[in-house]
Symmetry: C2
Subunit: 263 residues, 2 copies
């Protein structure tokens, strides 16, 4: 049982709050029964499960920890005091994990008939990114491509907002030029969104093999991204409104695609 704040695992957990440390180590930290359960059931590679026997009252979670111990996998028991110290939460449930980041490779991506993917240009806010991952999973989006300087999907705010949807879809990091090459080679339709578009996002027939491309919170769809698109759709707005939250705009278009397909 770890009682010391200077234990190396505890120090690692604290370091993983920083994006730089997450990039260097390829790890990230998650906390809570539901999210740790999702990571385990989705077969993500887990470095260690941290738990506090005094805090962990859920039978489901206790059995999950026992399963790890029985399989000889790494677990780290810590005192309640240590757990409360590393926890992000007000009422910690007593279970957390250090998990290996899992990135899919653009080079191996083959977009199949009927699939729709989501590409995000330079999304800045990790809460927005997590919400988008959650919506994309719910609307049947096949996965997410993060273009250029995107925020980190393994940021605590992104993980929280994704509600586990982080684990059930491939996430790919790519440069714009690689994405443009993929479009040419695989002849997949790219549809962008812009407030200046003449096509209405609602009712327009989306191509069957499709990447939906969303611009960033600040800049919207940039020129070279717009140039790549086969079509650009817009979301009508009333009165003085001239923009929507990125996660909201993405949800409206992704759900319109999903709604058309589920018939």
């Amino acid at each position: 049982m770890i009682t010391s704040f200077s234990n190396s695992t505890i120090k690692l957990v604290r370091k993983l709050r920083s994006k730089k440390e997450r990039q260097k180590s390829g790890l990230f930290y998650i906390e809570g029964i539901r999210i740790v359960g999702e990571a385990v059931s989705s077969n993500w590679k887990i470095e260690t499960i941290l738990y506090s026997p005094d805090l962990l009252t859920s039978k489901f979670a206790q059995e999950m920890v026992q399963g790890f111990i029985d399989q000889g996998r790494d677990t780290t028991a810590v005192t309640e005091e240590v757990f409360r110290n590393i926890s992000d939460k007000k009422g910690p449930q007593g279970i957390a994990a250090v998990v290996y980041q899992q990135w899919s490779n653009l080079g191996e991506l083959r977009i199949a008939e009927g699939e729709y993917w989501l590409a995000l240009d330079a999304v800045a806010d990790p809460g927005n990114l997590g919400t988008i991952l959650r919506t994309n999973a719910a609307a049947g989006g096949r996965g997410v491509i993060l273009l250029d300087q995107s925020t980190d999907p393994f940021d605590p705010s992104s993980i929280r907002a994704s509600m586990g949807a982080l684990f059930c879809q491939p996430i790919i990091k790519a440069h714009f030029q690689e994405f443009a090459a993929l479009k040419r080679e695989q002849q997949v339709a790219v549809v962008g969104t812009s407030d200046k578009a003449s096509l209405d996002y609602y009712g327009w027939q989306y191509p069957s093999r499709l990447v939906l491309l969303m611009g960033s919170e600040r800049q919207g769809l940039r020129g070279h991204h717009a140039a790549l698109c086969d079509a650009i759709v817009g979301i009508p707005m009333v009165g003085k409104s001239d923009s929507l939250n990125l996660a909201v705009a993405t949800a409206l278009v992704v759900y319109e695609i999903y709604n058309q397909r589920r018939g």
Copy 2:
């Protein structure tokens, strides 16, 4: 020119970060050219405009301040140091305001033919609330009714997320019983959403005079709220997904209502 952090206006601004102080005073604090401009152009009652002559380089904003001075309205010039101290922002634009909260009265609400209002039960996250205000304005929602224990629309996170949409629609605070009485007296349709609903939110014909009722982030639509509804619609989800972010779910339904009406 105010140079001291202990000036009473500066102290008031700092206090307005707390919900309790906002409730006591009936005031709130906003910052930045766009949002102060929205408050002024929407004719909200302004206690004072604070500005730092050294930071305020925008001609539009300078003219706005000069207009206030010319009309003999209250303005407060502060040093750059003081402004940076009260500012929430990394790159402050040098203009802020203390504004009177403006609440509309449920007793005076008459829901007209063709209008749709949004009612939110106990929304907890001010960022969600602000995003919902922004979406509701864009989708032609007439106003927002906050039921029971709702977070504060004048919280800085709500104001930021609303992108000025706070100023262009009436906001009403009401207890559930008052809302139920309004429904009976005005015979307006109330439509709820739930993940257990059998009606599909997409394509279902929404009544012409309508209040859309959304449950809270944690609890969804509670029993006594569901009981009040004339219909309950659901948003289909794929695979393991069982919920959406509240601002996303609200956006999907509000936009479906708007899309049906704009034809």
